[in-house]
Each structure stands twice: as C-alpha cells, then as structure tokens.
Symmetry: C2
C-alpha cells in the first residue's frame, strides 16, 4: 500500500470540485464529487431519530439499491428540522445537479451541514450547484477544494488516498471528511465521502463499509452527541479493471486493510480537530470477553466528561478511567484489571489486581504532557480488543459551544 | 404535610452527630446516625461494576435482610479500589461503631466518600468513630453537623424534614445528602441518608424507596458519571406508633408523597450544587408513549454536553435539545414534537410540527438569563411523562475537574 495525493480524485474516473458560492462568507461552501461511470454505493447514516432532509433522501435512494454517479454537498446550512419545504429543497438540489451533469436526479446523493432549522436559500444553492459543476476536474487541487467545501468550523481539511495492487491492477481509494464543527444553532456533524475505482461486488462493498465504520467512525467521540446529518458514503466505479472483488478473492484482505486505513485515518483526523481539543486520546481495551464488550468499555471511557477534563488537566486520574469502565454496562471483575497510560515519553502502570499502584508523579506528568496519549485497560477476561479515539474537554470547548449565537 | 427542622433527627428515636476528626483539614469528616430501636432498611446502591468496599459490605448486609441501628459515614477518603485491606477496614469501621454504641457489627451500615485508591488512615478513623459516637444527640444542631460531615466539595448542606399524619399519629421523615464533590483523584459521588419513625412493612419500604429513587435520585445528572460509592439508605424505626403501613393502608399515599417530596428535594439540591453549575435545568418530557421512554428522552437531553454548554451560554439552542432526544434510543416522529423553554420570565415556543418557529430573541435571552430553567418537550405520542434535573456545563466545571491534583 502506498499513499497517494488527490483524495477523492485519486481513483480513476472521479472528478471533484469545491467552491465559495455565497452560503458562507468568503469560504468554500459547495462541493461535488462525480464519477464517469455508475458506482456501487455503500453508506451508513445517523441513527438519530431526527434526520436531516438530505439523510432521509439518501436513505430512500440507498434502500432502492441503485447505482450512483454524484454526491453534492453544501456547508453552512444543514437543512434539518425544515419539514416538507426542506425535503423539497433536497430534491431540487438533486435535480439541479443531475441537470448540470446530464444525469437523473436518482443518480445524485445530497448532503448538507451547518445551521439547523433554517430553510436553504435556494437561489444561492441553485447558482452554486451550477458553478461547482463547471469547476469539476480530476487534478489534485480540485480534490483539495472539494475537501475544503464540506468543512464548517473544522480548522483543517481531512483527506487521504492510497494505492494498492489487486490482480496486478492499480486500485485506488480516496476519501475526505469533516468533523465536529459548530455553527449557531447546531451540533457536531460528521460527514465522510470515499471514492474507489475497485471493481467490487455490491453486497460485499456495503457489508464491508458497515463493518469498517463500526470500528472507525463509530469509535470516535468528541462529545458523545450524534447529529441529525452524520453520514459516510462510499462510491466504487469499477474502473481499476480488477476481477470482481468478493470475500473469496485472494486480495480481499488487501482491499479491506487499505479501506480500513483510509477510514481510520479520516476518523482520527476528525477527533484531532475536535472542538477545543488539546489532546488526542486512544483507549485500548485489551483481553475483553467479547468484541462488543471491548467496544462498550472503550466508548464509555472515551465519552466520560470526568476522564476528558482530567486529561485536559494532565492529571493521572486512573480512578475516573476505571469508574467509566465500571458504568459501561459490561460485567467484569475490577480485581483482575490492569490500567496504564502511555505516550511518546513512556508508559506508567497505575492500577493492578484491585489496588492502586504507587507511581512516579513526575514521570506521569511527563507522559501526560504529550499531545497524543494512549490508555491501556486490560480486562484479563478473554482475547477480544477494541480501540476508541477521543479528545479532551477544555475551556475552549465550553467557549465554542456556550457562546451566544449572535 | 409540614416542613420540620432537624433533618435526620426530626423523626422520633433518631440521634446524629458530625465531627471534624482529622481526615480533612479543619472540616467535618465523620458523621453518625443512630436509632434507639432496630430499623427496617431500604437502600439502593451504585450499579457501577467497580464498587467501593463500603458498598460491597452494605450490599451484603442488605441482602441478608436484617434490621439496622446505625450508619457511620466518613468523608475525605472513598475507600475504593483498595482491595482486601479496604474491605477489612470497612469491617473495622462497623466493628468500632458497634463497640461504641453497644451494637453488633451487622447492625451498622458503613459509607465512605472522597479520594479513591488510598487506604483509610485507620488510627484517625478509629479515634474519629469514638469521638463522633460521644457527640450523638437529637437536637437540630446535631442533625446539621451530621449533614455537614458527609460533604466533600459541596458548597452547602442538603437536608430536609417533613411531618405528616398517619392514623392520627405524627410521622416524620428526615434526610440528608451530598452531591457531586470532586476530590483528587475522584469522581462525582452521591450519598443520601433518610430516617423515618413510620411503622412500615419491610418489603413495602424497600419497594417504595426503589420506585422513588428511580424518579428522583436516578433522574439527576451533573456529568453523567456514575460513581463507585453512590448509595441511598433509609431507616424506619416504627416509633411513630401508626398501624403497620402497607399498600392497602388508607394513608399509604400520604406517606409516599412525603417520602417522594424529601427525596426529590435532596436530589434537586445535589444538582443545584453541581460542580461549576450556574444554571439549574428541569427537562419535562410530556405525552411520551411509555414512562420508560419518557425517562430515556429526559435523561438523554439533560446529559448532553452540547445542551449543557448552550444553557451556560444562555443560547436558545432548541436544535441541540431535539437532537439529544433523537439519539436517546427512543423511536418517535420529530414532525409532531413541540418544544419550549420557560422560566420565571415567561415561556417561548421554539419548534412545532417538524419546523423551527420564529421567536423573539430578546424574550428568549430574558428567559434563559434566569438561574432556573425548564425545557418542555411534548412528544404527542401518549400520556406518559417524566422529569430529569441537571445543570449547565461551565468553564468552572472544566477548571474544577481538570486541575492537576497537586
């Protein structure tokens, strides 16, 4: 596997663009991804009962199992809690994109992110779609522009592309993401779009994204809130020309590993750009009895406000970590658990066999002063493991999210 | 029902004390509650898998179904994550308390709150138990001292007592509580102790506390973390002389209402003293399909960091409230939900029938600038309701919980 440039335009036959079209002041606010050939689609959508119009639209398309050709995304307005008018506007976005690209509306997935409860300014949206359609290209800059157009309050673009070899053919996977941006009044929203030129069985592609999303996008936490718009959509246009990829294909795992690599990279980039984050934390749950329980424990720890503030304060507060494991809903014996913190500056064991260990406070502080920190919790119950990624809870988080909307 | 003074000593036959015994600098750190006669016991304990030694001890006692005579409580050290030695120390606390009061060790419930992972200084503890035993009295000051001795970083004592009439007899209920104090390294811990002189069937008493705790103590949230030590323990010594209270007793609901009033008062006081809290919020979920779902939605909203920071910022951010309802795990139709905020300054409707309503921003700000705010969310699905209480998430919360332990 080697790293490539160009994110979503790295795979063969994909074009992209990102433009400033007037939805946001002086920043890119409209992105488009287009494939020469029809694509198999794999997607996961927010489990929130309150779904944005675009999510409802995309889920309907997805459930029909049809191929897709394009994804249009606007930032600056989430088109959520906007009722019938909002749904109509989503459909108009698909229609206009289709018209510009000589496609059918059902070939187009639509995504929106930004302020909620406000109707889309459709004149701006329509002219924006025309503008961004004209800008489509397959050069690296167009990929980067596309990555930029989906951002809200993200402080950097999230993109990645890799190349692998399947059946002696070059296969590429590229992706972009946006993270937990806050716009008044809004909530954290995660969007990620992936393109690949692999030739892959449709059902296999769909299952694989679901599996990988559960281990990557669904294992990150900035503040535990699931938004109305969260979506991951992947397109595969088959233009690499490999033999159809199924689970039995000898290179299935080569593709799976590369796909996982791209998703994990994008997911962890989202966390690193978490609102007000000063630390990046990975919680590794080791030797749990089941994979599901390992995930539950990891997510409970990474989601604890007390754990998050302790890491912001560079405090070796293992008690809060153990406590968060304790209320994860997983049964375990605290008397056989071991707990340690590690970073580039070393590792320190804090708890073992039901009791606190004496530890060197200076060494602990040195470890915790690093930006990237790992928490290892060994349940000593079985052989399953899971990792969750998150960030600390800082003054800045409260500031960003508590500021009056005006 | 009328309010009484003296909290846990208000009911007949109860004595209490609280003393500074050297566990904390210059603050009361040891409390004792004692009944002349054996008491029926009702209790609820933390569901955290990691339980403090005292909780393990109390659960064992409770499961034996025996009567009790005393509760000893130390603050400043939680005796959690302290292994075999910690368990032995809890037992020694029961033994010493029993010796001082001419009881058996199994007559004594033991509670600890404070720093975790550190062994109790047993010399100080033993001399403290002797001191506090000698101070037992049934005057109002002793009740207040007792309420003070269980505090950690609470900024005020939480106490309440009421009198009701059952079978023409005066029956009293008194209680104390401590809230989400933070001591390095520690987590929020809730303790509450209730005394009553009612003559009540043991099984009815136990069921009633469980039911009431689910609607009061279990409906508050400061930061969503459940601690290793959380406990509510209630003692009933029967000295009021009423006919045995069962569910069939004509005054059962009089007692139930008064008991609920005391528990709700103590639970909401805990929230009002939440770490760094500047606002007190009540989330009323109305017309849900089931009681359980109403509770789930209310707790999801009150626990959202995005909702909590919005209220800290006095921001009418109804989108975050709806979003938190959406990821509560309860199925509902967002298009029939209505949402409003209210306080002493009035009420403002923000969302209805799937769309955002235009609202007066100045009026909203005026409502949200109050310290006590209610959020009403009407699901329009059925007839069940629930209320959860919580507080905002402030800079001060991050400061208190992020400060380095030294």
């Amino acid at each position: 596997m080697k790293t490539e440039k160009g994110c979503v335009v790295a795979p063969k036959g994909f074009y992209a663009a990102g433009k400033s079209t007037g939805l946001k002041r002086k920043r890119k606010d409209m992105s488009l991804i287009y494939s020469e050939k029809p694509c198999n689609v794999a997607a996961v959508f927010t489990t929130n009962e309150v779904k944005a119009s675009s999510v409802l639209h995309n889920m309907e398309l997805y459930n029909k199992g049809k191929k897709a050709r394009a994804i249009i995304i606007n930032s600056g307005n989430a088109n959520a809690c906007t009722g019938e008018e909002g749904l109509n506007n989503t459909y108009k976005m698909a229609e206009e994109t289709a018209a510009c690209l000589a496609l059918k509306p059902e070939d187009v997935y639509v995504n929106s992110t930004g302020v909620i409860g406000v109707q889309l300014p459709m004149d701006t949206i329509i002219s924006g779609i025309r503008e961004v359609s004209l800008a489509l290209d397959d050069d690296i800059v167009s990929g980067i522009n596309c990555a930029e157009g989906i951002l809200t309050t993200d402080t950097f673009i999230k993109d990645k592309a890799v190349e692998i070899i399947i059946d002696d053919k070059k296969v590429k996977i590229g992706g972009i993401a946006k993270g937990s941006g806050m716009i008044h009044p809004n909530m954290a929203t995660m969007l990620s779009f992936i393109t690949t030129d692999v030739n892959i069985d449709d059902a296999v592609f769909k299952d694989l994204l679901k599996e990988i999303a559960d281990d990557t996008y669904n294992m990150i936490s900035v503040d535990g809130d699931t938004s109305t718009n969260d979506s991951v959509i992947a397109l595969a246009n088959g233009m690499a020309g490999n033999e159809l990829l199924t689970k039995e294909h000898k290179d299935y795992n080569v593709f799976k590993d590369a796909f996982t690599f791209v998703c994990k990279h994008l997911a962890t980039q989202i966390v690193k750009d978490g609102e007000g984050a000063t630390k990046f934390m990975a919680v590794n749950v080791l030797n749990a009895d089941t994979k599901e329980n390992a995930k539950k424990i990891a997510k409970s720890i990474i989601g604890s406000s007390l754990v998050k503030t302790a890491f912001f304060g560079e405090d070796a507060n293992w008690g809060r970590v153990l406590c968060a494991a304790g209320y994860s809903g997983v049964k375990f014996n605290p008397n056989i658990v071991t707990l340690s913190f590690k970073s580039a500056k070393g590792e320190i064991e804090l708890y073992k066999d039901g009791i606190a260990l004496d530890f060197d406070e200076e060494k602990a502080l040195e470890i915790l002063q690093q930006v990237e920190i790992e928490i290892d919790i060994n349940m000593n119950m079985g052989n399953e493991k899971a990792t969750a990624w998150g960030c600390d809870l800082s003054y800045e988080y409260v500031k960003i999210n508590g500021e009056y909307r005006s």
